[in-house]
């Protein structure tokens, strides 16, 4: 009801002009009607008009009355309240500053996290009607594989046979080398099937998209540039469309430039035709991405079941290649943000708690202030101000405070968001934009308003219920009339603050413990003093496998001889940097499984020095040697887990395995050694078994160097780069990082969560301590008289301390009990973010309960000490 009137007032603010106009118009209408009537009755026009006006009498007072009713007076009252509120608050700058600052911290924390969440979860994706876009992937439910990539023939069947999508497109992200017109440059891009741009609903700003012919096999000679690349490398020259540029050492004709801000997939900056043929790309070759646009009115569920049915049909027609395979259909945004979503929602809850604590603190301050203002309020009531009016006045003051807090909070949020983004070490997807848009501003305004009502309503209600007789009769002895109500409210506040803080502290404790565990995880290699960098050879220049292996052999040899290098090796997919190469495993003498059932192993190609460079222990057999050449017998190393899985209790040495599609005729590799298990995908868990094959027997174009230095490895960067340049001046290196950085980047999310939780919990703890201290100090002041009497009756300082601390401690313990119960219930939602720590970890709970108890003891002890210094004479005379 009050909100309704506030709304009407706000409306009146904008309408005050038109209210007057409307009333004028209504009166004019009336006078004209009367005049016409009079004329009909025979008066002259002048007479008629005069009579009409005379009958109206005091027009101004009618207008006034109308103005009041239609909301005008509300406006004036609001102005009055506002002016009065601001004036009173300015008279107490200390009080106002503390309140505004407290609120700013609470609101700022909320706006910071909200603007992050806004960028990730709420802002529309930069495609046309993004809600109808879905990602398609193949799955192998029997093996629990959620994402195995799409094979080209399956994609073609989907596109031709489905009835739920407007169109389907496939793509394959990659890195491409641009040569000529400047330094050789690695650009990220994608091969895409024709129709991708149409599905996304984004047209090029220059030129055209890929035609159906250009998407045909073997005709990959055109390229579309991203806006950023076009600006940076080609100086925004429109003439570049139609010209020829060299990509991976092959000429490509530029046919179009995409608009700024367009990327797909997330990092691509140039696009080539997919141009695959089904001869070379069989149903066994998975790895493409696929995106589709739902037909209007088709739901995600419908599409999912239709595609599952289609997958079953394809499986019946191709039992060998497609056995056990199905399709997943995911909403595009859900597919993109799955990593962030839950953590963000939890963090929003966390900052909500911080704000609640801030509100409790401010409410407590207001309550204390209201009781010292009781006399003023009583006089206003005595002079005829309605309680409702007093309540409104006090709440208006709260809203002034919360508005100021909100404004300052916004400043904190701008700053906090920058800090937050600076703490993200990986490149965030391009579509995540974190500016202060209308949603963030609206959220902040709404939170501020709500905050003002939450912390303002209870104290205002208490204060406006003054008992005139009591207050004025007692000569305004400060606060004595506050009565039992506010005391109970204050106790409730202490209990609430303690409970809320405990939940946050426990949450933070769990996050930090989990992160520390994660940091201490043995990933199976020794990252200290290791420098890594990727060397991607362009395919056109290094077409023959021999040239590829020769390049890496020469490079490793050169780097090994650099001063300060202890060991060096290279690997096709560096552990924990996000690169993967999964292949199916077939073991000789075991049943040949279908592609849907065969285990997928992590397939690494390595040079002989790799295990020494990474300090990966060789547990049995031998390492890979340079003698494991192309024509030599094919060999492989396997990791401990694979050995245990297939040959428990016997030696795997001499057994034979092979990789790739089970039906294929890939050669067998003999197991010659067993190495320690390395966590390739995630530090917290080993997910795939690994094999390591010699780089001369299975060659790859891109390998990552791992250089173990005598000391700090970053000093070697320039020297290693030099060796690459001497070998091939056109050859770029990418991703120069120490292995420690690689691991730390792999766990940036848990680290960021731990930091954020810790920061917010610390803020909460500080606010709660101040809050408890404030309540206890106030209580002591209130009880000065009583304490004086007690001292006069012979109470010792010890008794007084016990009295005050005892009261505070009781409340704290109740709060801790409540908080522990809530924490037990609430921390369960974060268990998926925790690593090797139970959401109900007793140590974390105990430590934080102890911390809060100690904190509260201190917060109570200081006012208690002050209470012991109460001079009974002064206290009683004060009466």
């Amino acid at each position: 009801m009050w909100l309704g009137s506030l709304y009407r007032r706000a409306l009146a603010l904008f309408r005050s002009e038109s209210i007057h106009q409307e009333i004028d118009e209504e009166i004019r209408f009336h006078i004209e009607m009367r005049t016409e009537e009079n004329v009909r009755r025979g008066m002259t026009p002048e007479e008629a008009r005069r009579d009409a006006e005379r009958r109206f009498g005091r027009i101004t007072s009618v207008k006034e009355r109308g103005y009041e009713v239609r909301g005008g007076r509300m406006l004036e009252t609001l102005w009055q309240d506002l002016r009065y509120g601001i004036r009173t608050l300015r008279k107490q700058p200390g009080f106002s500053a503390v309140v505004v600052l407290t609120l700013a911290i609470g609101i700022g924390a909320n706006s910071t996290i909200f603007s992050f969440a806004n960028g990730v979860l709420l802002r529309p994706l930069p495609y046309s009607e993004p809600e109808r876009l879905v990602l398609l992937d193949e799955t192998a439910p029997l093996r629990g594989v959620q994402s195995m990539g799409v094979s080209f023939p399956n994609f073609l069947d989907w596109r031709a046979q489905n009835k739920v999508f407007e169109d389907v497109a496939a793509y394959s992200p990659g890195t491409y080398t641009l040569v000529g017109g400047g330094e050789p440059e690695q650009a990220r891009g994608a091969r895409v099937s024709g129709g991708l741009f149409e599905i996304l609903g984004v047209a090029p700003v220059l030129g055209r998209t890929i035609s159906a012919e250009e998407d045909g096999p073997g005709s990959e000679t055109v390229v579309i540039l991203g806006h950023g690349l076009w600006q940076r490398r080609f100086g925004s020259e429109p003439g570049v469309v139609g010209s020829t540029i060299s990509i991976n050492n092959r000429p490509h004709t530029v046919i179009g430039v995409m608009p700024p801000g367009f990327k797909f997939p997330e990092v691509a900056d140039l696009w080539l035709p997919l141009a695959l043929d089904t001869q070379r790309w069989t149903r066994n070759d998975h790895g493409l991405g696929a995106v589709a646009r739902l037909k209007p009115g088709v739901s995600l569920e419908q599409a999912g079941s239709e595609m599952a049915a289609l997958a079953r049909r394809i499986e019946e027609q191709n039992p060998v290649t497609n056995e056990g395979l199905s399709v997943s259909v995911t909403d595009l945004r859900a597919g993109l943000v799955s990593d962030y979503r839950q953590a963000l929602l939890i963090l929003l809850g966390v900052v909500g708690f911080v704000l609640l604590i801030a509100c409790v603190n401010v409410a407590n301050l207001l309550l204390a202030r209201a009781s010292s203002r009781q006399k003023e309020i009583s006089i206003r009531v005595a002079l005829g101000a309605g309680r409702w009016r007093v309540f409104r006045q006090l709440v208006t003051e709260s809203l002034v405070l919360s508005a100021a807090g909100g404004a300052l909070g916004l400043v904190i949020a701008i700053w906090g968001l920058q800090l937050l983004l600076a703490a993200v070490p990986v490149e965030l997807p391009f579509w995540m934009k974190f500016d202060l848009d209308g949603r963030v501003l609206g959220f902040t305004a709404a939170v501020s308003l709500l905050t003002g009502l939450v912390f303002g309503a209870a104290p205002a209600l208490k204060a406006s219920k003054v008992d005139l007789n009591e207050t004025l009769k007692e000569g305004g002895r400060s606060g004595a009339a506050a009565g039992a109500g506010p005391k109970r409210l204050r106790s409730l506040m202490v209990v609430g603050e303690v409970a809320l803080s405990l939940v946050l502290l426990v949450g933070a404790g769990l996050m930090m413990r989990s992160f520390i565990r994660l940091q201490q995880v043995d990933v199976g290699l020794d990252p200290k003093n290791v420098l890594t960098m990727a060397v991607p050879l362009p395919g056109a220049k290094y077409r023959e496998p021999e040239r590829q292996s020769a390049f890496f052999a020469e490079l490793v040899e050169r780097v090994k001889n650099l001063p300060g290098v202890r060991a060096v090796g290279a690997v096709s997919n560096l552990p924990l940097d996000g690169s993967r190469w999964g292949r199916s495993l077939t073991v000789e003498g075991r049943p040949v499984l279908s592609v849907g059932e065969a285990p997928v192993i992590n397939h690494c190609v390595v040079t002989p020095g790799y295990f020494r460079a990474m300090n990966i222990p060789v547990l049995a057999g031998r390492e890979i040697a340079e003698s494991d050449a192309r024509e030599a017998p094919k060999v492989t190393l396997i990791d401990e887990r694979l050995a245990r899985e297939y040959w428990p209790g016997e030696s795997p040495l001499g057994k034979r395995i092979r990789f790739g599609p089970p039906e294929s005729n890939e050669p067998w590799h003999t197991v010659v050694g067993v190495v320690g298990e390395v966590r390739h995908e995630r530090p917290e868990a080993a997910t795939r078994m690994s094999v390591y094959v010699p780089y001369r027997q299975i060659t790859v174009r891109q390998m990552t160097l791992a250089v173990r230095a005598e000391g700090d490895p970053s000093g070697l960067t320039a020297a290693v780069r030099n060796q690459v340049r001497e070998l091939d001046p056109d050859q770029p290196v990418t991703g120069v990082r120490t292995m420690e950085e690689v691991i730390s980047r792999a766990i940036w999310q848990p680290r960021l969560h731990a930091i954020l939780f810790a920061v917010f919990a610390a803020v909460a703890l500080a606010l709660a301590s101040v809050g408890i201290y404030g309540v206890m100090s106030y209580t002591v002041t209130q009880r000065t008289h009583e304490i004086g009497v007690r001292v006069a009756m012979g109470a010792t300082p010890r008794d007084i301390v016990r009295l005050v601390v005892g009261q505070g401690l009781t409340l704290t313990l109740i709060g801790i009990a409540l908080g522990a119960a809530s924490a037990l219930a609430l921390t369960r939602v974060m268990s998926s973010l925790l690593f090797e720590v139970s959401a109900a970890d007793p140590a974390t709970f105990a430590a934080n309960m102890a911390l809060l108890t100690v904190m509260s003891l201190v917060a109570c002890y200081i006012p208690a000490r002050r209470a012991t210094r109460v001079d009974p004479l002064v206290a009683l005379r004060y009466e």
Partner: protein, 110 residues
């Protein structure tokens, strides 16, 4: 035409307005005319009291107003009885009946 000498009884004008509006929405001028017409010219409502009364009733939520077109196609503010107003009219009518009865009884003696 008999001019109403004293003020209408407190609240009586409000009741008359509610009654006038009970047949449908009307602009302010129309309300005045309607009351005069129903009272067969025994009563006229002064504009100086009519509009404050309309505003008062609107404030209490018994009537609401919006812009519309008058019979001669001019923009006019139309008033309309709300559900609360209709209920209120019932109460007023009942009170009025009792008052008339009571006053009548008093005036009949001697």
């Amino acid at each position: 035409m008999v001019r109403q000498k004293a003020d209408l009884l407190q609240g009586t004008l409000d009741m008359l307005i509610l009654k006038a509006l009970s047949t449908g929405p009307m602009h302010g001028y129309g309300v005045g005319q309607r009351i005069t017409q129903l009272a067969e010219d025994l009563l006229t409502v002064e504009e100086g009291s009519l509009y404050p009364a309309l505003y008062r009733l609107e404030e209490r939520g018994w009537i609401k107003s919006e812009w519309g077109k008058s019979e001669n196609n001019r923009r006019a503010r139309f008033y309309k009885l709300t559900a609360a107003g209709r209920k209120r009219l019932g109460v007023e009518e009942e009170n009025w009946r009792l008052l008339v009865l009571a006053v009548g009884k008093v005036m009949q003696t001697t």
